[in-house]
Amino acid sequence: MQKFFDAFANIFKIPDLRRRVLFTLFMLAVYRIGAFIPTPGIATNRFEDFFNRTAAGGFLGYFDLFSGGMLRRMTIFALGITPYITASIILQLLAVVIPTLEKLQKEGEMGRRKITQWTRYLTIALAIAQSFGIAAALQGSDGNFVLNPGIPFILMTILTLTTGSAFIMWLGEQISERGIGNGMSLLIFVGIIVGLPTAIREIYNHVFVIHDWAALQLIIILAIMFAVVGFIVLVERGERRIPVQYAKRIMGRKMMGGQSTHMPLKVNAGGVMPIIFASSLLALPQTALQFPVVKNSVWLSNMFGALAGNAPLYYLLFIVLIVFFGFFYVSIIFNPNEAADNMRKYGGFIPGIRPGKNTADYIDKILSKITLVGGLYLSILALIPQIMISGIKLQTLPLMGNFIDAHFPRWLLDGLGVRFYFGGTSLLIVVGVAMDTINQIEAQLIMRHYEGFTPRAGRIRGRRSSF
């Protein structure tokens, strides 16, 4: 722990690093200020009420999560960095399909710069489209949100929100370039983390003011939170290390242990992406339920109803989709054939395995296994809080429903009714960004000859024979 604080103090001893950290904090502060400036022409409180009632949890919920609650408050930053994220994902996906893009991506700095430029343009285009959608929806809805409806309102909203979005993009890039950590991730991180004080206050109220929560409940919640964070850290750092040997050009008399070259395959390579894809897809039936056609048809509403939140089928589908998108994402970012080719090109090989097809197959097999594990991990993370809140409605299953209803514990079926302030997804993002940022700071510290955060001193070392 001492070491941790030392490392922390070191950050401020190094002028360059200090400047970077302060710059980052300043940029984040600017971002938060924007979070309180409302978009003109909207009855914000009316909208926020509406949003809390209807949209939370679905696709818009994620949207809101990434914008740090700015969507529900309809501030000038309401679009958040979603357009940028979407643009990045689109270009990433396109790079798989379009050879020119793929070539650019591999061309080094200049190519990457070009892609960044296109990402920016696409971001603006998406922001315009989204802000138009929002403006039109606001005006068209019966919630009376818009004070002075009309074309001018729509144009103004497009201008405001697009500018806000572009500004956020700029903030993020500035942080990446002149600050520390990845700017976009940090902006999302801040958006989530600002909910923390409110959550603490609410919990405090429940326990000490309203007294509707027992202290035990508080302890359980905190314990679960800590356990979940620990679990996330554990798995996020988890990787399968495929050893890579390569024809050495430099002769060493003996090699020390633990330094062998390896290719690390992360258990959860896709991060939160599979969850977002899966829940966006699953939000469709719920949205469909709102349509009159569906509402009026018993058959259709039953079908979509079975897919609604906390139905067993919903959970099952959710898991399947998360795992599916996990595989999908990994297949995009990691091509075993390419890795094997690359390995061969550099004169590397996996000990005991022939280069070429054998190597590709071997990597593919390992990749499949850990991606499955990663998918299940994501499923647990995404579902646990939801189950804890509202349970699994197993009693709705055909045939054995009644039996389950009678014999299964109520908390499993109806949930604990506990409100989680941080869902699994948010925690995953927060932990991931925090870990990345700390790694970056640590790299800076080591580069400037200070010790980093990661404790190493306590490691047990075996005695090795000398001479």
Partner: protein
């Protein structure tokens, strides 16, 4: 501390060089009236706190007396920039060698030694001899270093006030000093000041080539020969495949099978066969990628590397260990010992060890940013003595190389008929030779510069300005020597001037503008007339790599290339700075053990063990043995550190496949290796003492022979044995063309 910093700031940086010039000029006028003896007395009287104006004026006046060369104001300005610790950009022919002298004297008068780092041994010797008389008047000793000098002469040279040497020699001596076992063997003093000639070449182009000292056990030579015979039996495109740009070569499945059968070693890719696989890989590279007389030459029974960029044999440079052996086996010459790498340093790191460096070159301005960022060196552009009237004619672009070469030959033939001297610059040996063939066919007599002989090279360059001379040279050849119009001595000068002076033809644009400017600067020295023109082709490496199609502006393509290359160098530096830091720490520890009276082996041993040993042997015996042991152990584990770091570095790009940041992984990995080193140092010392016998009042350690410093040898190695990507692309394209 900030006071000192402030002082330094005010004292060295804040003044404009111009501000002192009038004072110096005035003082020169006064001094020029004095007799030689009076000047000698005045010069010798300057003490350890020299005043700039006095020193510079004296130096200028003495230079005129001794060499008969009057120092121009711009030369004094250059010297002032050097004295401030800047890079002075001075055009070719402006007299850099002399311009450095006042600054060198000013530094030397601090009596802590000045190194003047030159581009090659020949220039070190020439410049030291040329300027020595001026230094002598100031009572300063001067010497030059060259290869193969014995240690005593080196020590004496380093003890001189001014030492002329190549950066490589200084670096090698530093590495050797890092391995000595007694203080008497050291040859260098602590570094103080360095004045770097051709600063861009040394600090940027060659800054990253590691200087290596190796020694100890050698590999099994039989293996290289055995593997070589197996590789000879393989068929290109069936058993192995070189890639498009000839940067790499891979065995095919059938090739793997053949090798496995021939060697009878089971699967090549078993962990136990790593050594064999490495040798196979190296032999394959040696046979498939490296070509005799192009990539290397065989001379006096040894394989010597050709520096493609400079276009000549790279002295003292080798390929990484195994590849060198494989080549030697391929050419059936005796295998040089490889040993293990005991120490290594880059020129960039070496420069960082001086208290102050400054430098001069004809071309620095385009690299201003890099000098500032990497070395914290500002660049001062010194105006020319007379305006440059050289005509830089617009580039001419051809569709392909063949058309370009035809045009060049035609141009040379046409201009040559008038008798005007011509210098043709090429990018590589291969280019210069093919152009030479074409000129031969066209019946144009010419000389080609690509021999490894600085002296002869300087002579050819000096004559390149003679009437009717046609000289083909690679970009870097003969730097440091002037091309005098009308030859040397300039007997036909007037005629050459009338013909328009030297005509420089460039055959390709380099990735860095300054290399082109260096070539252009060959013409139009000292206000002479001259002209330059570049003949380019769309197939030139620069344009192929950075895409002319989208951007027809060659200058901006070059700028892109420059910033990219700078970025690459800076990334590399991020990786290396931590190793650098570790080396400094270990070096400091080693010096402390070697030189400090306060150091005791007690700091390395557990208390009880120390007490026990001291009681058994006496403190003196223990301390002597302890120092000897500690030095040996440090050298040993430092070599391991280097090997481990190299291993880590070689494979670090794999982690980016797993979505991790290679820089972070590398830095934490190196940190861990370094912590291991400290831990192992103590452990091995304790173990060695535990296993030692005390006989005749002396400790005998197991494996005593390991503590003797065996033979060592130094060489430069190369980061990229098969060239950078662009060099390879260029080669590959050339080859494809040849096949057609």
């Amino acid at each position: 501390m900030w006071l000192a910093r402030m002082k330094r700031f005010l004292g060295f940086i804040n003044r404009e060089p111009e501000s002192e010039l009038p004072g110096i000029v005035r003082r020169c006028e006064e001094l020029s009236l004095r007799s030689d003896d009076q000047l000698k007395i005045a010069a010798a009287a300057i003490d350890g706190n020299p005043e700039v104006i006095e020193v510079f004026a004296l130096a200028a006046v003495i230079a005129e007396r001794v060499l008969g060369l009057r120092m121009f104001d711009v030369q004094i300005l250059g010297a002032l920039a050097l004295q401030r610790g800047h890079i002075a950009e001075m055009q070719t022919g402006e007299g850099k060698t002399l311009a450095a002298v006042p600054a060198v004297i000013w530094y030397a008068l601090h009596r802590r030694g000045v190194h003047v780092l030159t581009a090659n041994d020949y220039l070190a010797r020439r410049d030291a001899m040329w300027m020595s008389e001026i230094y002598r008047w100031f009572g300063l000793s001067v010497a030059d270093l060259s290869q193969n000098m014995p240690a005593e002469k080196r020590r004496a040279a380093y003890l001189c006030d001014v030492t002329y040497a190549t950066a490589n020699e200084v670096g090698f001596d530093y590495l050797r000093d890092g391995l000595v076992r007694s203080p008497g063997e050291l040859v260098q003093r602590p570094f103080a000041f360095a004045v770097i000639d051709e600063a861009d070449s040394i600090l940027i182009d060659e800054a990253r080539i590691p200087l290596v000292i190796a020694g100890g056990v050698s590999d099994d030579p039989a293996l290289a020969y055995r593997i070589d015979s197996v590789i000879l039996g393989l068929r290109r495109y069936a058993d192995y495949f070189p890639d498009d740009f000839a940067r790499n070569v891979q065995l095919t499945d059938s090739g793997i099978n053949r090798v496995e059968r021939a060697l009878g070693c089971g699967s090549l890719f078993d962990e136990g066969n790593l050594r064999i696989l490495t040798a196979v890989q190296d032999a394959l590279h040696a046979h498939a990628l490296l070509r005799r007389n192009i990539d290397y030459v065989v001379k006096n029974g040894s394989v010597e590397l050709v520096d493609e960029f400079k276009g000549r044999i790279a002295q003292d440079r080798r390929w990484p260990a195994g590849l060198q052996s494989a080549l030697e086996a391929k050419e059936r010459v005796a295998l040089k010992a490889q040993g293990r790498i005991l120490g290594s340093i880059t020129v960039q790191s070496l420069a960082g060890m001086y208290e102050r460096i400054c430098g001069m070159t004809g071309t620095a301005a385009t690299q201003k940013e890099e000098f500032r960022k990497v070395y914290n060196l500002p660049v001062t552009v010194i105006p020319t003595n007379r305006p440059v009237i050289r005509q830089d004619l617009p580039d001419i672009l051809y569709a392909d190389k063949r058309a370009r070469n035809r045009a060049v030959v035609e141009e040379v033939r046409k201009v040559h008929e008038t008798g005007r001297p011509i210098l043709v610059g090429t990018a590589s040996v291969e280019d210069s030779e093919s152009l030479s063939r074409l000129l031969q066919l066209a019946g144009v007599p010419h000389s080609v510069l690509n021999a490894r002989n600085d002296e002869a090279e300087a002579e050819i360059v000096a004559q390149a300005g003679a009437l009717g001379a046609v000289t083909i040279s690679t970009n870097m050849a003969g730097r440091g020597t002037d091309i005098l119009l009308g030859g040397n001595p300039p007997k036909d000068r007037q005629q050459a001037v009338e013909l328009g002076g030297l005509y420089v033809i460039g055959t390709t644009r380099h990735e860095a503008r300054r290399i082109d400017n260096q070539l252009r600067g060959r013409a139009g020295r000292q206000g002479d007339p001259g002209a330059s023109r570049f003949f380019l082709s769309l197939e030139d490496a620069l344009l192929v790599r950075f895409g002319i199609a989208e951007n027809p502006d060659v200058d901006s393509v070059q700028r892109t290339a420059e910033s990219q290359n700078m970025e690459i160098r800076q990334t590399l530096w991020k990786y290396e700075s931590v190793i650098e830091h570790h080396r400094k720490e270990v070096h400091a520890l080693r010096r402390e053990i070697l030189l400090s009276c306060d150091w005791s082996i007690a700091s390395m041993l557990p208390e009880e063990q120390y007490a026990e040993l001291a009681e058994a042997a006496g403190t003196d015996v223990l301390e002597t043995a302890g120092r000897r042991l500690a030095l040996a152990v440090i050298d040993d584990i430092w070599a391991d550190y280097l090997a481990n770091v190299a291993e880590l570095r070689g494979g670090i790009h794999w982690v980016s496949w797993g979505g991790r940041d290679p820089l972070y992984e590398f830095l934490t990995g190196v940190q861990e290796i370094y912590e291991d080193l400290h831990w192992r140092l103590k452990e091995e010392i304790a173990d060695a003492f535990a296993a030692a016998e005390l006989r005749d009042g002396k400790f005998r350690f197991p494996n005593e022979e390991r503590f003797e410093r065996g033979a060592t040898w130094t060489y430069l190695t190369t980061d990229q044995p098969f060239g950078t990507l662009s060099e390879r692309i260029a080669k590959g394209l050339r080859r494809k063309r040849a096949r057609r």
